[in-house]
């Protein structure tokens, strides 16, 4: 009798799972539909001058849209600029965050508490509140339309510092002690012992930084004036606003090309990304 009850319970649970899976699949399909639509239209020849009805495959398959897009917008240039900035900024930001995190986790020096608070308090000041004076500073030293204003902020990655500190704090002190007996200084310990042990937090922060840099919009729009130096998000939006509303297909081609690298990165690194987001609770 008891056995029978168990079996029906298992069956009930299985049915429950199937229903849940089906509902989730439908929601997911709705959620991803706009992307699919965009992808299909980017290969649809009829989408050049018109928004065709929704269909599962292109009405008239061609790569014409990508050719047009290539002629109208210097996407390769934007790509290179963005990849370069994202790479440099991410490296700087994560390295400096690790340095500060190490000092605040393991250091004993005068003024430590004050310095830590000095850094964390920045999180309460929204970026928008210093936009104009920052712009004026860079303007007065002739740094507008260079990448300096985009890079400067990376030297103080406050969120990163906070999470680096938490992670480094969990590393046992015995490792440092034995290295000290061997005559290693703090910098040597940091570079040789701490950094190699912190790969998970480094990759998590690195991913957050890459995504943030790839999507940066407002600040690059303010400080970068010339077209050749612009980053991908701003370049794409300019293209969208400036061209006449005719070219639907090429627009979708541009969107696909610009979103592609992030999707690929995500599918490869999804484990780390999901962890980093869930653990840190920050998205920038």
């Amino acid at each position: 009798m008891k056995k029978k009850g168990n079996i029906s319970k298992v069956l009930y649970k299985q049915r429950h799972h199937i229903i849940t899976t089906m509902i989730l699949a439908v929601i997911l399909a709705i959620l991803l539909l706009p992307f699919y639509w965009c992808l299909i239209l980017s290969f649809d020849k009829t989408a050049i001058t018109d928004l065709p009805d929704f269909s599962l495959v292109p009405h008239e398959f061609s790569i014409q849209n990508y050719r047009y897009a290539n002629e109208m917008i210097d996407l390769g240039r934007y790509y290179m600029n963005t990849v370069m900035i994202a790479f440099v900024n991410t490296t700087i930001a994560v390295f400096f965050a690790m340095m500060c995190g190490y000092a605040f986790a393991k250091g004993n020096f005068r003024g430590k508490k004050f310095c830590f608070f000095f850094m964390l308090a920045v999180m309460m000041i929204p970026f928008e509140s210093r936009m104009v004076p920052l712009y004026l500073i860079y303007r007065s030293i002739g740094m507008l339309n260079t990448y300096v204003p985009l890079m400067m902020g990376s030297f103080a990655y406050v969120y990163g510092t906070f999470f680096a500190r938490q992670n480094i704090g969990a590393i046992p002190d015995s490792l440092r002690e034995s290295a000290k007996i061997d005559g290693a200084g703090e910098w040597r310990i940091f570079l040789r012992i701490i950094l190699p042990l912190c790969k998970p937090v480094i990759s998590a922060l690195g991913i957050l930084q890459i995504v943030a840099n790839w999507n940066a919009y407002l600040w690059p729009m303010i400080v970068i004036r010339s077209k050749e130096k612009q980053l991908i998000s701003v370049g794409m939006a300019f293209f969208n606003a400036s061209e006449s509303s005719m070219y639907y297909g090429p627009r979708f081609a541009v969107v696909v090309l610009s979103a592609f690298p992030l999707v690929i990165m995500y599918l490869f690194l999804q484990k780390y990304i999901v962890q980093s987001v869930a653990l840190s609770g920050v998205k920038q």
Binding site: N108, I125, P126, E128, R130, T161, A237, V263, V277, A278
Partner: protein, 306 residues
């Protein structure tokens, strides 16, 4: 003599540690603290554009702003849109709840990965696509609705002032639902299973478990999401700016002008730094209040004492 050596040693120790943090501290001082103070200072002047004469005018900028219809309109839009966007929390929770109920199976991993995809591609690309998805004439949503309802639907989700708020909220939910799902899922999975076992012994059913155990256990997660959602909402700019045709006018008819767009307008389009700085200060104060609430709720700085 000995104390000198000791002092030197201590000094050297301090210097070593400061070498780790000094660059970051200086950058924060020069590029964060000083400009923020400058904004507060500008907000009390009648500064026009860069390099022109200006003088102190006291609180005039603030009284002008608070009496200005367009500022109050931007303020109202910002608050309303921030509140609407809170719908992501219950939606994200329900998604996470359904995904979690699948147990730790490959199916769960699959849904977790796939639902987060829109959040990874946020930014301009999604906004551009949605301009066409929500377009009145030939947009994807209207296209599908027309087929479903068997008559022509031409609702301008983003161009009709009466429903533009709904349109951009759909866009916002779509962009960020994955993040909210992920946060709720992480919180759900950290609830100790013993509590549920005890409830089952007491004869609780599924709904009771959800209402009396799951939701109260996730209180800190919900409050974190609530506050960060509001803070993000106050700084809303990019999507509304692009939907308005890369202007700060907040098209259609100013219904989509946010505070930050208003500030941007008087900073870069028709510069009146005094006025825009006062706007920035107001926006910062609101953000600061919510951040302090967040700090209080999450105990972010508590560890500092350790």
């Amino acid at each position: 003599m000995k104390s000198n050596v000791k002092r030197w040693k201590r000094f050297k120790n301090d210097m070593t540690w400061y070498s780790f943090i000094i660059v970051s501290l200086l950058v924060l001082l020069i590029f964060t603290y000083l400009p923020t103070m400058a904004t507060v200072y500008f907000s009390f002047t009648n500064m026009g554009t860069y390099g022109t004469e200006y003088k102190m005018v006291g609180l005039k900028n603030y009284t002008v702003l608070l009496g200005s219809k367009s500022f109050l309109n931007a303020f109202k839009n910002t608050i309303l849109l921030a509140v609407y966007s809170l719908v992501k929390i219950p939606l994200g929770f329900l998604l996470a709840y359904a995904i979690n109920s699948l147990g730790r199976t490959p199916r769960q991993t699959f849904f977790r990965i796939m639902f987060y995809i829109p959040s990874i591609i946020t930014g301009v690309s999604v906004i551009l696509v949605f301009q066409y998805v929500l377009r009145g004439n030939g947009g994807l949503l209207n296209n599908l609705l027309s087929k479903l309802l068997r008559h022509e639907v031409t609702t301008g989700w983003l161009s009709d002032p009466a429903i533009s708020h709904l349109g951009v909220t759909i866009l916002n939910v779509w962009m960020e639902i994955g993040y909210f799902m992920l946060m709720c899922l992480a919180s759900l999975q950290s609830i100790p299973t013993e509590i549920y076992d005890a409830a089952v012994v007491d004869g609780a059913n599924g709904l009771q478990k959800m209402v009396y155990i799951t939701i109260p256990q996730m209180k800190s997660c919900f409050s974190f999401l609530l506050v960060t959602c509001m803070i993000g909402g106050f700084a809303r700019f990019t999507d509304l700016y692009i939907i308005g045709g890369s202007t700060t006018a907040g098209r259609p008819s100013g219904t989509l002008q946010s505070l930050l767009m208003y500030i941007y307008q008087y900073s870069f389009e028709s510069p009146q730094y005094g006025l825009s700085s006062a706007g920035s200060v107001i926006l910062s104060i609101i953000t600061l209040i919510f951040t302090l609430v967040n700090v209080k709720l999450s105990g972010f700085l508590k560890e500092d004492n350790g």
